[in-house]
């Protein structure tokens, strides 16, 4: 890649990112002329730069976007959210083109079509809201919905059950968008939770790249589901991703037709997989042959015939057509063909079959425009198959970030090495002493000492720097939310502003990772169940736009994240009832539970399951999972809500996993570390205030009885506790909601250390959380109070 092209890519990526941000901002403040101007300039520059290199599709897209923005600026076109949608799509397409340029030096040919489509959409007014995209509506006059063959195969089994139970059957095809993982979606989970899931099939959307080049963050599967549920239920289930699914009821007649077609023996290559369907007709000679056969059947049916001849002709045309369908992999047409044949038989007329032939071009080709000649039928399918067979450029990188991805283990290794360096460094003062006393060279000793000071400073900075490597701003996880909130609120028909504060609060990477899933879940809850639809908000005297506020801040050695919405709040009464129905609480609790406590029931495992779709949570993964995944990294979550006014969720997490704060104490001349979070206070108690109750020492501190434990006794050290005149030194600690006093000899200091678990034979020792290496090379055993007491 030439330096010039590299520079172009860097700038173009920045333009694309800024444009995307600008569009989202402009949606909030459509009247902001300055913003619009800036946006226009960005797009204009992008177009000009792309022109320098002759990247035609990119020029086309940016040119169209520039035109539209200009029209918006001049006034004739209003910037509504539909237009923003299309513009965002253009931005996404531009980003993909840049990926392609980065990988291959040029824009992949298939983008030309995409660019043209986007340019057309930009020039034309977007579809009015509520209009279904063409691929979702079933083609007019279609004799049967496009239900894949594998479903046809199992339909007869499902049919009896469905008919006897009076249950609807629905087919769903779900193709998650490639970037969906970044929105925190797990399509597999959504599929798994689909109501009435009876059968499913999965296949790659595009051929897999070589495993070494696989991008694990790109979704590449299409799911097909058969569900014993109504289309409405499924629409509700897939409501967050409605654009990515096709939902079709399986009509009762299709079930019957499929069983009628069962007796017909399969002729050529009957077991075609749905994914294989498109590949059969790529050979042009085959295409022509298929067209000829179709024309011949039509000719046969058009011939004048006597009533005696007719059944034979119909049957033979029927057999030929059936074989043709199977040979071309269009097995989805079999059911409608069987139906047409039945009807033709019953009426002793070739009309139903001719009608079926006519509908073939319209129906089975789907995308082909009406009025195509019969020979157009095979060609209709070759276009999509050519895109799906396109070999995907292999290396997909994040959009132009110059961030180095390093496994955490490598950073940890560096941390260890710094620790060893500290120990090595501490040998220098000893060497200096020897230089002076044994070799009689005070100058050399001085030199060594001054070198020691230099190395000491560098090591300190290294240690600090490596700790920082692990720290990331919370913004890295928050940045995906504006788009998520925008897309989701649109899907749900709500108006929501997302306000974020404190994005640059830094926390350990591990914590950032652990935050993502819970936050997505909480946001979804707020959007779906918290924020009311605009009309309802106006009725209850609120502004039609809801607000969700995410506020991150540092509080001591913890990070605090507050998610607050001004929605309808949680109905404690409803929660109470639900919990009772689910047998999570007893009847007395149902009566006695305070409102505050009732709300906390949403954290109980089993409270939120997929049945409670319209209640407090909704996607099968409940607040209990949120709580569990936070607790795994030492976090907590609390929730408060005022009915009608909103809900506030407070997350609190440790800033860092690697570094913990311990208080260094001395017992029997040996240093020990005690986790600082367990320590409540330190006091010196006169001996006279130590009482003995049933052979146990206790003391009374602010009218609270505190049991005393001698650390040396607990650890089995052979040492008498120091009992000085001024009394004994006590560390008041908290241990699983109890308070206890630990008797120690001396306190030294609070330290930030990296606690390593003990290994080898030492791992058997109980009462230790691990050990830390101190700056001077001392090993500091860190106590585990829960085990010890």
């Amino acid at each position: 890649m030439t330096p010039l092209l590299e520079q172009f890519l860097t700038e173009a990526r920045e333009s694309v990112e800024e444009t995307s941000k600008g569009l989202l901002a402009l949606e909030q403040r459509p009247a902001d002329a300055e913003l619009l101007d800036a946006l226009f300039r960005r797009v204009h520059t992008l177009k000009g730069n792309a022109g320098l290199f002759g990247f035609q599709p990119l020029i086309e897209v940016s040119h169209a976007a520039e035109d539209v923005l200009d029209e918006v600026r001049e006034g004739p076109v209003a910037l509504d959210s539909e237009l923003i949608d299309v513009l965002l799509q253009a931005v996404d397409a531009a980003a993909k083109m840049l990926d392609s340029i980065e990988q291959t030096g040029t824009i992949d040919a298939h983008f030309e079509r995409e660019a043209r489509a986007i340019a057309q959409r930009l020039h034309r007014p977007p579809l009015p809201a509520g209009t279904e995209p063409p691929e979702q509506s079933s083609p007019a006059g279609s004799p049967a919905p496009a239900i894949p063959e594998w479903i046809q195969r199992i339909l007869s089994k499902e049919q009896d059950r469905a008919i006897s139970a009076g249950q609807p059957l629905t087919f769903v095809r779900y193709t998650p968008e490639p970037e969906c993982f970044f929105k925190g979606e797990d399509p597999l989970f959504t599929v798994r939770q689909a109501p009435g899931l009876a059968a499913l099939s999965v296949r790659p959307r595009e051929p897999w790249p070589p495993l070494e080049a696989m991008d694990v963050y790109k979704a590449n599967l299409t799911y097909e589901l058969l569900c014993r549920a109504s289309a409405g239920q499924l629409e509700d289930h897939f409501r967050y991703v409605l654009q990515q699914v096709i939902i079709r009821p399986v009509p009762a007649e299709a079930m019957l037709a499929s069983s009628a077609g069962q007796g017909i023996p399969s002729t050529a290559g009957g077991e075609a997989d749905p994914s294989a369907g498109s590949s059969h007709l790529e050979d042009p000679s085959l295409l022509n042959a298929a067209a000829e056969i179709l024309a011949a059947q039509r000719a046969v049916l058009d011939l004048p015939s006597t009533p005696e001849e007719r059944p034979g002709r119909i049957a033979s045309a029927g057999k030929t057509l059936e074989a043709l369908l199977r040979a071309t992999g269009r097995t989805s047409g079999l059911a409608s063909l069987a139906r047409a044949l039945q009807q033709a038989d019953a009426e002793s007329s070739s009309e139903p079959l001719k009608h079926w032939l006519n509908s073939l071009q319209l129906a089975s080709c789907g995308a082909s425009p009406p009025g195509d000649p019969p020979s157009g039928m095979p060609s209709a399918n070759s276009a999509p198959s050519s895109t799906s067979k396109r070999t995907q450029p292999v290396l997909t990188q994040g959009p132009g970030t110059t961030v180095l991805k390093v496994p955490v283990a490598k950073v940890d290794r560096l941390m260890e090495l710094v620790g060893e360096m500290v120990v090595a460094k501490n040998a220098l003062p000893y060497l200096a002493t020897r230089a002076e006393s044994e070799f009689g060279s005070p100058e050399l000793a001085r030199e060594i000492k001054s070198q020691h000071a230099v190395i000491h400073r560098i090591v300190q900075e290294m240690q600090d720097g490596i700790q920082r490597v692990r720290m990331l701003p919370v913004g890295t996880v928050l940045q995906r939310f504006p788009r998520l909130v925008r897309d989701l609120s649109k899907t749900l028909g709500k108006e929501v502003d997302l306000v974020m504060e404190g994005e640059d609060t830094e926390v350990d990477k591990h914590i950032v990772d652990a935050l993502a899933d819970p936050l997505v879940h909480i946001l979804r809850n707020s959007l779906d169940h918290g924020i009311e639809p605009p009309a309802e908000r106006v009725r209850s005297g609120k502004s039609p736009r809801g607000q969700i506020r995410i506020r991150a801040s540092q509080e001591g050695d913890r990070v605090r994240i507050e998610i607050e919405d001004d929605g309808r709040g949680i109905d404690a009464q409803a929660v109470r009832r639900k919990a009772y129905e689910k047998r999570l609480i007893s009847e007395e609790e149902l009566e006695s539970l305070s409102e505050e406590n009732a709300i906390q029931l949403v954290f109980r495992p089993g409270f939120s399951t997929s049945e409670t779709v319209t209640d407090v949570s909704g996607r099968g993964v409940g607040m209990d999972v949120v709580r569990r995944s936070l607790e795994r990294v030492g976090g907590t979550v609390s929730l408060s809500s005022r009915l009608g006014h909103g809900t506030r969720i407070l997350l609190s997490l440790p800033l860092s996993m690697a570094v913990s704060r311990v208080l260094q104490v001395k017992v029997g001349g040996q240093p020990f570390g005690i986790p600082l979070e367990d320590v409540l206070e330190t006091v010196r108690v006169p001996l006279s205030q130590v009482h003995h109750v049933r052979g146990r020492s206790v003391t009374v501190l602010r009218e609270q009885v505190i049991p005393l434990y001698s650390v040396s006794e607990l650890l089995g050290l052979n040492h008498q506790d120091r009992e000085e005149q001024e009394g004994i030194l006590i560390l008041v600690v908290r241990c699983s909601s109890n308070t206890a006093g630990l008797i120690v000899d001396a306190l030294s200091q609070a330290l930030e250390v990296i606690v390593k678990p003990l290994d080898g034979p030492l791992a058997q020792l109980s009462g230790y959380a691990g050990a830390a290496l101190l700056g001077d090379g001392t090993v500091l055993p860190v106590l585990n109070l829960k085990e010890l007491l």
Partner: protein
């Protein structure tokens, strides 16, 4: 710990999230013939499932949940027909 491995076997258990997909991919790249043990798995994120699928992992111990059995059944067929398709095309 929801992902554990040695040189012969990768075990996924409990809920495996998108953060673990890269680990799984790395392990499979290093151990193409290794065994994948899902018997204690409750759920894996689609990204992990994709990795197993793309790798064509064959030595897999499935969880008892019929969902996984059915899902796995449907992939194996899909892959076989892919193979068939490839063979027809190259032949």
């Amino acid at each position: 710990m929801s992902v554990a491995w040695d040189s012969e076997r990768l075990s996924l258990s409990g809920h495996c999230t998108v953060e673990e997909a890269e680990t799984v991919l790395t392990w499979i790249l290093q151990h193409p013939q290794g065994e994948i043990d899902l018997s204690a798995l409750e759920h894996m994120h689609m990204s992990i499932f994709q990795v197993l699928l793309a790798a064509g992992a064959s030595q897999v111990r499935l969880p008892e949940d019929p969902f996984w059995q059915q899902l796995w059944g449907s992939i194996v067929t899909a892959m076989e027909s892919d193979d068939r398709e490839n063979r027809t095309r190259s032949g």
